[in-house]
Each structure stands twice: as C-alpha cells, then as structure tokens.
C-alpha cells in the first residue's frame, strides 16, 4: 500500500466496491431507492418553479411568513439531536452492539441535519445570496442573532457527525481497533452539542417578544422532551430494518429499553405541555389567542384543530403503549406506538408549533395558512433526499462494520473475522 501504484489500486478497490454495494441489492432495495429518486426529482421540479417565480408559489404570506418548511426544519433538528442522545443509554445499559449504535446514530443525525439545512435553504427567498451567511466571508450577525448561532451549531454538528463515523469506519475498514482515547472525547462532545442544537433552535423562537406563543421559557425543555420521543421512535424502526437486511444482530431487549425511555420522555413532554396549557387557560390573558386557535379554533378559523387533537390522541396512546410492559414488549404494538410518536410529535412541534405563532399576528389579524401542493412536494423531496442519503450510507457502512467490506489485504481472509 505504501507505493503509489498500490495506493491507486487500493483506492480503486474502495470505490469499485462502494459502487457495487450501492448498486447491488434486493428488489425491495431497488424499488425503495427508485421511488425516493422519483420523489427527489418531482420535488426539485417544484422547487425550481419556486426559485424562478419566488415564494409567491407557496401559500406563505406576510401574516404567516413561515410554514411547512420551517415546521419540518424544527422537527428534524430534534430528530438529529435525539439520535445522538441515544448514545447515552447505550453506554448506561451497555448494549453489546455499542459501536454499531454509535455509527448508526451519528449517520442518522448527519442525514437529519442535511434535511434540516435543506429545509432552511428552500425557505430562503434569495438562495443566490446564501454566502452572506458564511462566517468571515459574509457578515454574520453573531452573537446577536439566534439564526447566526443556529447556522454555526448546525454546521458544527454536521461536521462532528460526519467526522466520528468516518473515523470509526476507516478504522474498521483497516481492521484496526479505533483509538478510543482519541475519538471518545468527540463522541462525548456530540452529546452536549446535540442538546445545544435543539436549545438554540428553541431559543430562535423563544426570544421573540412579539410572539407570545413562542415567548415561553418552557419551550427549550419541551423541545428536548419531544425530541427524546420522536428520535428514539424512528431509531427503533431503523434498527429493526437493519437487523433484517444485514448480519448485524440486535436483541429485542435493546428495542424495549429504548421504548421505555420514550415512555418517560413522553410523560415529560405531555406534562410540560399541560403546564403551559394550564398557565394560558387559567390566567386567560390575550396571549391565550394562539392556544385557542390551535386547540379550539379562533373566530371560526379551525384549520389546526383536528390535527392537534389527532396528535394528542396519538401521543397519549403511545405513552400507554410504551408504559405497559405487555404492549411495549410486543413488536406489533411497539411499532404502532413508534408510528404514533413519529406522526404525533411531528404535528405537535412542526405545524402545531410554528403556525399558531403567527395566528393571530401582532396586529390581531387572523390569516389561516394551509400548505399548498408545491410546499408538500418540495418537503417530500427533501425527506426523500435525507432517506436516500441515509440508505446509501447504511449500504456501505454496515458491511464495513461487519467486516464484509474491508481493505484488500484482509478481504482474502474471508468475511468471518469478527471484531468483537
């Protein structure tokens, strides 16, 4: 490998094998990737229209100036944060496949962050000027603007979550034990950083005195609690898929433990929400208007009411499903619970959080916002992009982790070498 020719050959081997891994798969894999690609293309075509004509192609207005894009952004930041926070219970409960979980969690976080950043990009009116935001190149309003903070912490988090898995995978590829003394501080750093990205995102809304619905100090804790629900829920589902399609083994016990964690977080989430609802309804000031709009409708405007009650029903049901051991420890009810949490939390902290901030607006105008087809298609396109990135990353990362894909020197030894 030291001579240039060998290095070239080795590099070629890596790329060839990567492409082979990505392009070979079952029929389901093909169908999955092709449908994601189709959604990406459709989303891009719709986005192009928005890029040419302006944001007028969306249903956004001066009254409700952020909508589905920013709702998805908020939700995905939570996803990204939670995936890494899963590292903590992995350590505490000493799950056997800890290394896999770290790598999977961080790659999932990276994919979520990419989606979150894409949602901000499509929401920008002037994508051509996005360079104004780059530190030292543009003119970042740091530290006054929370959006400037968000740009920094999100990109930092993305780099961190790419660096750690890539380091580990390279080590696995060469069949070397990672230097834990070197990488562990980064893994540990990613945990407070995960809390950080979600706190900064909460503060982004929290700091606006003009919007009483967001201007409540309970916001950041609520964000974290709900992220601890939706993130682990999607991880439970991903783990089940991964153990089905690869040779990685994950015991049911691990999934049940994560589900238990969701039950506690969901309790906290519902409790914090309840605390906020009590304060608003009991004191009954004018600030209650947004809550009223969300939960009962305001002056016959009721677009969000069925959504939020669906979310409430899903969250409460999921809480009991995960709390009761017999339903938690049955895969069918477990997965139903996960689905409820993923959808319920999305409604609650996506549209159910962003839109009421604008209704009524600071001058009391009530303007209802419902996303249009273009916004839906662009959003689906971005979700598809994230899922495709994650799928392809997994397709290469898992064989490296299991030892099926490694440096030519070791490959001759066969696939059976175990690292553990």
């Amino acid at each position: 490998m030291e001579n240039p020719q060998g290095l070239l050959k080795e590099t070629w081997h890596f790329y060839k094998k990567t492409l082979m891994l990505v392009f070979r798969g079952s029929k389901i894999y093909y169908a999955w990737c092709i449908s994601l690609l189709a959604m990406i293309i459709v989303g891009f075509i719709f986005y192009w229209k928005q890029h040419e004509m302006g944001l007028i192609e969306t249903n956004l207005t001066d009254q409700v100036s952020w909508g589905l894009y920013i709702a998805n952004f908020t939700y995905l930041v939570g996803m990204a944060a939670a995936a890494v926070l899963l590292v903590i219970p992995s350590y505490i409960y000493q799950f056997k496949p800890i290394k896999e979980i770290v790598v999977l969690g961080e790659l999932f976080a990276a994919s979520s962050i990419i989606m979150a950043i894409l949602f901000v990009m499509v929401d920008l009116g002037r994508l051509d000027r996005v360079w104004h935001m780059i530190p030292f190149v543009g003119s970042m309003n740091f530290p006054a603007s929370l959006l400037a903070w968000d740009v920094l912490v999100l990109n930092g988090y993305l780099l961190l979550n790419l660096f750690i898995p890539i380091y580990l995978l390279v080590k696995f590829y060469y069949r070397k034990e990672p230097n834990w003394k070197f990488i562990l501080p980064f893994i540990l750093l990613s945990i407070p950083w995960a809390v950080g990205i979600h706190t900064v995102t909460a503060f982004l809304y929290n700091g606006l005195a003009a919007r009483p619905f967001w201007n409540a100090s309970i916001l950041a804790p609520r964000f974290l609690a709900s992220a601890f629900c939706s993130g682990p829920a999607i991880i439970i589902i991903i783990f089940q898929i991964i153990r089905k399609v690869s040779s990685i083994t994950l015991e049911d016990k691990a999934l049940f433990k994560i589900a238990e964690l969701i039950a506690y977080s969901m309790f906290l989430n519902l409790f914090l929400l309840g605390a906020e609802i009590f304060k608003e309804y009991y004191s009954g000031t004018v600030h209650m208007a947004s809550f009223k709009y969300l939960f009962e409708g305001l002056h016959e405007h009721t677009a969000l009411v069925p959504w939020i009650w669906t979310a409430m029903a899903m969250n409460v049901t999921a809480f009991f499903l995960f709390l009761i051991p017999s339903t938690r420890k049955r895969l069918s009810t477990l997965n139903l619970g996960c689905l409820f949490v993923i959808v319920g939390v999305w409604i609650e902290k996506g549209p159910g959080f962003v839109i009421p901030g604008f209704v009524p607006d600071p001058l009391g105008e009530i303007h209802e916002y419902v996303p249009n087809l273009l916004e839906l298609m662009v959003s689906f396109g971005i979700w598809a992009t994230g899922l495709l990135i994650f799928t392809l990353l997994m397709k290469v990362a898992i064989p490296i982790e299991t030892g099926e894909f490694s440096h030519t020197e070791y490959e001759k030894e066969g696939y059976t070498v175990k690292r553990h």
């Binding site: 004509m53 302006g54 007028i56 920008l124 360079w131 190149v137 309003n141 603007s145």
Partner: protein, 301 residues
C-alpha cells in the same frame, strides 16, 4: 462586522468567494442577468465611494431600461444632530387610508399580485385600544369615519432598540444615525426572521417580482429607501428617507387630510414633535416590549 481585521477578512473573503463562485456556477447560470451581475455585490456599508458610484450608475441604467425614466438614486447620508420622530393624533384620524396609498405611490411599492403596503390602518370598536384581536384590517364602508369606531394607523415605528435589527442573521438591516431603520435590499437573503420578530408588522416581503407599472414609477429615490426592489427581499417604511434627508415631510404626513400626522427632529427642542411630546398625552404602541419606538400616538390636549 465593520473595519476590524479588514485585510485578513478581505483576503479570506477573496479566496472563499473565488472558490464559491466556481462552485456556484451551475446555480448562477440559472439566475437572471441582473442576479448574476449583483451576485458579488458588497454590503452597502462596506462599499467605498467609488464602488457606490459604479453601483448607482449600473442601477440607473437598469431602471432606465426597465421603466423608461431617468432615475436619481441618492445615497445621501444622515444629517448631523437629527433623530427623526413621528406623531400621530388618534382623535383626528378618520381612517381614509390616503396615507396608505400616498406611501405606495411615493415608495414604489408593488401594486398588484401581491399589493404591498407599508402602512396599515386598523379599525377598532370604541372602548378598546390595546387588544387588537378584534381589530378590522380590511374595512370598506361607503364613507369614513364610521360611528362607533376609531382608527389606528400602524407602520414601522423606527424602534431605537429594534428587534428586527437584532435578529437579522447577516446585518442586512440596521439603524442609521438619524434613527431610521433601513434594509440593504441587495444583501437580504429573505429568511423573514425580522418579520417574525417585529411586534408592529412593520415589515413586508416581496413574495414575487414586484409589479410596478411604468407610468406610476417615482424616479426620485434613495438607495436605502424607495428604489424599485426585487423579488424575495424584505422591505419597510423608512419615514421616506429620500424626502426627510432633503428637508421634506414624509409622503404620509403630506397626504393626511386631517393633519393627524406630525414629523420632526427629536433632538431639536423647537421642533413640532418635541412640542407634542411635552404638551400632549402621548403613548407608544407596545411600550412594554422596550423597543423604544420613535412613533408617538397622542390625543388632543
């Protein structure tokens, strides 16, 4: 962002911009000619006098081609010892909205497919002034004023401690020395964080390319004020920066048929606005948010 470490920043910027320009070629090729031309334009406050001149010449040429009129684009700076303040006498306002349309005319606002306005007049039931939830923004009676209602015009309150300036991630909006909050329309990235932060709904967005009929264009403009704007950047009332820096009243003050609107220099003890603050019962909207607005509502004596 200003003046510190200019050489190092300049170097890093040149380097990065070159790299960026290369990387964004595909994106640029999708942009219009104007967008491509403006791509590397600097922040207004970082331009040298020379760069400003070249940019103004380019804009005047562009506006001539588009609107068939010779534009005078001013970059006039703030007068020393001035801090503009506004007074509005609620007991006189009849809700005719002449100010709204005079403003749109003067400031080259988009006229249709989204019609934009920098001034909004709210109709409130008598007996209520603070809770705006029952206000009517789109009242359209045969004649005004209507019995049982009062009218509350709202526009940018030119806060001394402006939430919009604080939240802008890229310094695209700032407060001038004479207290006017302005936007560099060519620097704004259209994130709309300022719209979310403003407690007065003082900012509006060009959701599409503005629709400004040729024969309605006002060619006397200020770069930071009423020059024709582009799609997907934010804009707002500037107290008619193009007028007040030349010693004229804002268009809304001139248009008001009841004389409800007053304007002047807060630092000049003999100005009309100081007379009002010292002798009338004034209040400011949302004073509890500590925005220190410079827009004083008042009632007769």
């Amino acid at each position: 962002m200003r003046n510190k470490n200019l050489t190092r920043r300049e170097f890093i910027r040149n380097l990065s911009v070159t790299a960026l320009a290369g990387a964004s070629l595909p994106l640029l090729s999708s942009c219009s000619k104007e967008e491509a031309e403006d791509f590397l334009q600097k922040h207004f406050l970082e331009m040298t006098e020379d760069e400003k001149k070249r940019m103004i010449a380019k804009l005047e040429q562009r506006y001539l081609e588009r609107y068939g009129k010779n534009f005078q684009i001013s970059t006039q700076e703030a007068q020393p010892e001035t801090l503009w303040g506004y007074g509005l006498e609620l007991s006189r306002c009849v809700g005719c909205r002449r100010c709204v349309y005079a403003c749109a005319q003067e400031n080259n606002l988009s006229r249709y497919a989204r019609q934009l306005h920098w001034i909004r007049v709210l109709r409130l039931k008598r007996g209520n002034l603070i809770n705006l939830e029952d206000s009517e923004h789109y009242y359209a009676p045969e004649t005004v004023p209507e019995k049982g209602f009062i009218y509350l015009p709202v526009q940018c309150q030119q806060c001394q401690d402006a939430p919009c300036v604080k939240v802008c991630p890229i310094h695209a909006t700032w407060q001038e020395p004479d207290g006017i909050v302005v936007v560099d329309y060519n620097w704004c990235i259209g994130c709309r964080y300022c719209i979310a932060a403003c407690p007065y709904k003082g900012r509006v967005f060009n959701w599409a390319e503005p629709n400004l009929p040729k024969d309605e264009v006002n060619p006397n403009v200020h770069y930071l004020g009423n020059r024709p704007r582009m799609k997907c950047a934010v804009e707002k009332c500037t107290f008619c920066i193009q007028r007040v820096r030349q010693g004229r009243y804002p268009a809304c003050v001139e248009a008001c048929p009841t004389g409800s609107r007053k304007f002047g220099n807060l630092l000049d003890p003999k100005s009309e606005i100081r007379y009002i603050i010292e002798r009338k019962r004034v209040f400011r909207l949302r004073e509890e948010l500590n925005t220190e607005s410079k827009f004083y509502y008042f009632f007769e004596s």
